[in-house]
Subunit: 197 residues, 2 copies
């Protein structure tokens, strides 16, 4: 008979994206065979990260320091601001190594369906940052989805009165694709070929 | 930039079956958005289960009590012993509700490739249990794989001198399965074991 405590763990695991009830069971059984080498370290790491890693108050990136290591890195180009939907997109751009400016993580896209409006995203703080004299260009690196493009369009309008160039990633981003899943070459090409919005 | 602590968590998550580096990143980002409702409870549950759940010394099942709740359940049929490879198989049989005897979890299969011999599995204790006067039948519920069938064959030989009936699960068409999608081996087995309608 499945024990309650084990069943509770399986149900928690099954809430992770990419795992269903069946694969969560497999994962838990795998963990039970590696208590010392994997299960306890994973528990400790989850706890540490949940406690120590916070959203950067400036850009929304995840980091253990405040402001985050990108915002406080003096070597990053201060004139370029790259707007992304999620931290995973920021990570994808960092992995490509193609961008040396700073970021602004919206925390999602506008979505009528999910009831997410401008106030649910970091848009007001983006407009404030775009007004800083050092910033000369805002790059909208949003997904080529309907919601992503709607959000890009909305942000471009909000920045219309601000003295800053607004650009978008070049088409090269597959339509319907998410940034997180793109290869480095495509991301680099899309960044290089960015055009005025 | 990906933080070291976060990267360490992603690498731990990526060691779970069914998750790769990419899906581990997605899972961690998902967790970061649900720190209180999912991430901390998951960390606590992993820790609790790793500490509290142990292998039953009799059958190898996972439980917080010793012996496990199945071994100590007086209502289970004491004459039937069902041999399975892993705890996951025990759970599958329990979900079916079709078996009311007790179990014996081998902890894997014999495998020349992986260097797993009889001493690496709970085979000696199985033979001891099979000799108990109450036990009249040992059901070998092992996978229909080469290693599973090799193991079943080996156990049947080890039990040859013991006064106990040894049986195996029937091969056949899975309930709800379509003939068109079945492999030749299953169809052949189902034909050979055909019964009067």
């Amino acid at each position: 008979m499945v024990v309650n405590e084990l069943e509770a763990l399986i149900q928690l695991m099954a809430r992770l994206p990419g795992l269903g009830p069946r694969s969560a069971r497999r994962a838990v059984l795998h963990l039970m065979g590696k208590r010392e080498s994997l299960m306890l370290p994973l528990a400790a790491s989850l706890d540490r990260v949940a406690q120590a890693i916070r959203d950067c108050s400036i850009c929304g990136n995840l980091d253990s320091v405040e402001p985050c290591s990108i915002c406080s890195d003096e070597r990053r180009e201060p004139s370029l601001l790259c707007v992304v939907e999620e931290v995973g997109d920021l990570w994808a751009l960092e992995r490509s190594g193609a961008f040396r400016g700073r970021y602004h993580v919206l925390g999602g896209t506008l979505s009528a369906l999910d009831g997410r409006g401008p106030d649910d995203l970091r848009i007001a703080s983006l407009v404030t940052r775009a007004k800083e004299p050092a910033v000369t260009e805002v790059i909208l690196a949003l997904g080529a989805t309907v919601d992503g493009q709607t959000t890009a369009h909305y942000i471009a309008e909000r920045l219309a009165g601000v003295e800053v160039a607004v650009s978008r990633l070049a088409h090269g981003v597959p339509v319907g694709g998410e940034l997180d899943y793109l290869d480095d070459g495509t991301l680099t090409a899309a960044l290089k070929a960015r055009r005025p919005a």
